[in-house]
Symmetry: C2
Subunit: 375 residues, 2 copies
């Protein structure tokens, strides 16, 4: 299965002509999962090689506008371009994100009179109190969740299917959002000005291939016996020899692991470190350079060395930095000897990572995540 990550927006705080607001797509065999959807994401999608209509799931790390405000428009535009009367009803677009997301989408889509050609469902994560500073939200912005708001407030949008509400699993310290035959998706808690989450997409290991040489030695020809062995069944050959799958199957291929973190200046609890261990790709924000660490911290953001510390602790293979302050121009626009040079962010992460691989994300950069081979 092919797998890659495409960045649609790598800027912090707001979209600019040089860096879109946060959005990236994890694509697996044409199926697209969108992580965050800042304003302008639909236009960035049109400029990219990706098709908005292939988006089946959306994950929102937190409710800051630069990660969220593009979502109602994206859903409307996907709908406009979708088949007006599909032969079979399309599956719902599933949206995962912090509590409050359901109400935001419902109000935006309803007040704008937006009909969708497909159902949608919002699954909400209930954050802990320890995910943002107690004084973080000024009076009047603390969330109020009365009974009415439990389902997002008011009536459902006509295309809305009421989603699940995920509470933190107290033992695992995380949220298990999705378990499919191919993937497990979990979320863990981050500390930011608003409750923020990291998402871990873990591909399940794939069973090893049949070893042709070993089959030959046992006198097994291609056919139903091979199928039974591949399915994990033991078989008794005509000569009485019992062959079990492990005798002829090569090593299972470990699944890939992709971790995408929302804005944060630290993790909450130790689940994140555990879940990200050994990740193939860790996507982490680096809003400001190391010398501005205090300012980054004050705004709930990270610097390159903060991101690298996590990557180092988790022994990830690749650290991808994004969510850069708009002061850092993309490499393609850099003039020589320019201050606020985004390449300096890369050097700072590399220095802290003791030689691990660091990638600076840019809008429209695609990073392939190759399938693993057995060693």
């Amino acid at each position: 299965m092919s797998m890659d990550l495409t960045f649609l927006g790598t800027g912090s705080a707001y979209p600019s002509p040089h860096r879109g607001a946060s959005a990236l797509v994890l694509r697996t065999d044409g199926d697209c999962w969108l992580f965050d959807c800042g304003e302008g994401t639909q236009t960035q999608l049109m400029k990219s090689q990706l098709k908005a209509g292939r988006i089946t799931k959306v994950f929102i790390t937190h409710l800051h506008g630069d990660h969220l405000f593009g979502l109602p428009g994206l859903l409307c535009t996907i709908s406009l371009h979708s088949c007006p009367a599909p032969a079979k009803p399309p599956p719902p677009v599933e949206v995962y994100g912090p509590r409050g997301l359901r109400k935001f989408l419902r109000v935006a889509l309803t007040l704008s009179g937006s009909q969708l050609m497909f159902p949608y469902v919002v699954h909400e994560l209930v954050p802990g109190d320890d995910q943002c500073p107690p004084e973080g939200l000024p009076d009047g912005l603390e969330p109020v969740h009365d009974d009415d708001d439990d389902d997002g407030g008011g009536r459902l949008h006509p295309q809305e299917v009421l989603g699940r509400t995920f509470q933190l699993d107290p033992e695992q310290g995380c949220y298990t959002l999705l378990e499919s035959p191919q993937f497990v998706v979990r979320a863990f808690r981050l500390f930011h000005r608003l409750p923020s989450f990291g998402f871990v997409v873990e591909e399940r290991p794939r069973p090893g291939k049949l070893n042709v040489q070993l089959l030959k030695e046992l006198g097994i020809k291609p056919g139903p016996i091979c199928g039974r062995l591949k399915n994990g069944e033991s078989v008794t050959l005509e000569n009485g020899v019992v062959v079990s799958p492990e005798d002829v199957l090569e090593e299972a291929v470990p699944g890939r692991k992709v971790c995408i973190l929302g804005d944060c200046c630290s993790l909450v609890g130790d689940a994140g470190r555990r879940l990200c261990h050994g990740a193939d790709v860790l996507v982490h924000e680096a809003t400001l350079e190391d010398s501005l660490r205090d300012k980054a911290w004050e705004h709930g953001h990270s610097t390159p060395s903060m991101a690298a510390e996590l990557a180092e602790a988790c022994q990830v293979k690749q650290l991808v930095l994004y969510h850069f302050s708009q002061r850092y121009k993309p490499q393609s626009l850099l003039k020589e000897k320019e201050d606020d040079n985004v390449l300096e962010l890369k050097r700072q992460a590399e220095a802290a990572l003791n030689g691990g691989e660091v990638i600076l994300a840019e809008d429209f950069l695609t990073i392939p995540i190759p399938s693993k081979r057995c060693s």
Copy 2:
């Protein structure tokens, strides 16, 4: 006073890389009034010569996403770039638009934890039942306005000042939104899939200048007497002659009139025709070409000849078309002999207008509205 119109988005339905979603700015001596704010307007503003921080008023024609979804992000970004501790508290940004706008903005800004560095106020227009088809909104999308929603639903956002609610003036058939020493702004009703409005900005006439030749003949020298005459006061000269202002003032300079209409396939009532009469500029949508009139009508939209009919009836000086279907590429991208040619829209309006001036708006086009001179 200088006055011009700049188009930030001229596309219909959604923003594309070639045409932004609806937004245009009326600038008067540096003060900017924004009309509609589709997704991506803040980025279009950055690409333009205008400064987002100069926006003091926003007018939303209707709540469709392509006219609205950029507003929360725009306010957040203006705030980010504004002075953190202004010497004197800034005046509120005033937002005018249909009922429901207050709740939309409040929910979007509150759930995204968006603090603003300035107050804002939303003034709502209560539409009539006759502004959209009775079957226009499917079940579940008809607006519900219970007591709770009268002020937009729930608590005010911390920077929100509760705005006014404008009912239709039954005698005038319009809404008088604003009367300042320089301008009167009125709104009138349009028919669309959602209730939509047109806005008329009318500059007040400016008193004429003192006629230097006449003053000389009367023996009046520059000084306080001139000031009193200019202020509309009669004066008695030393020689006993009484001079009244009309004796020495040139003709008053008529004010300019700019009309900006939201999406529509027709007006509701006759106020719009009356208010737009003699306008210097009429900005009117032309989503589809004349041969698609039925389709345009079905979606509550206009074609060039529909726009021209109104311009003709109102004897406007300049008809500006915008809100083009994304199938019509901007002129700068046109290849020869291309179908769906936006220039055809211009020809259709011109043909219907009997020779009047028609302008096709493009993103970033600025149209000067020169001050009038006496004839």
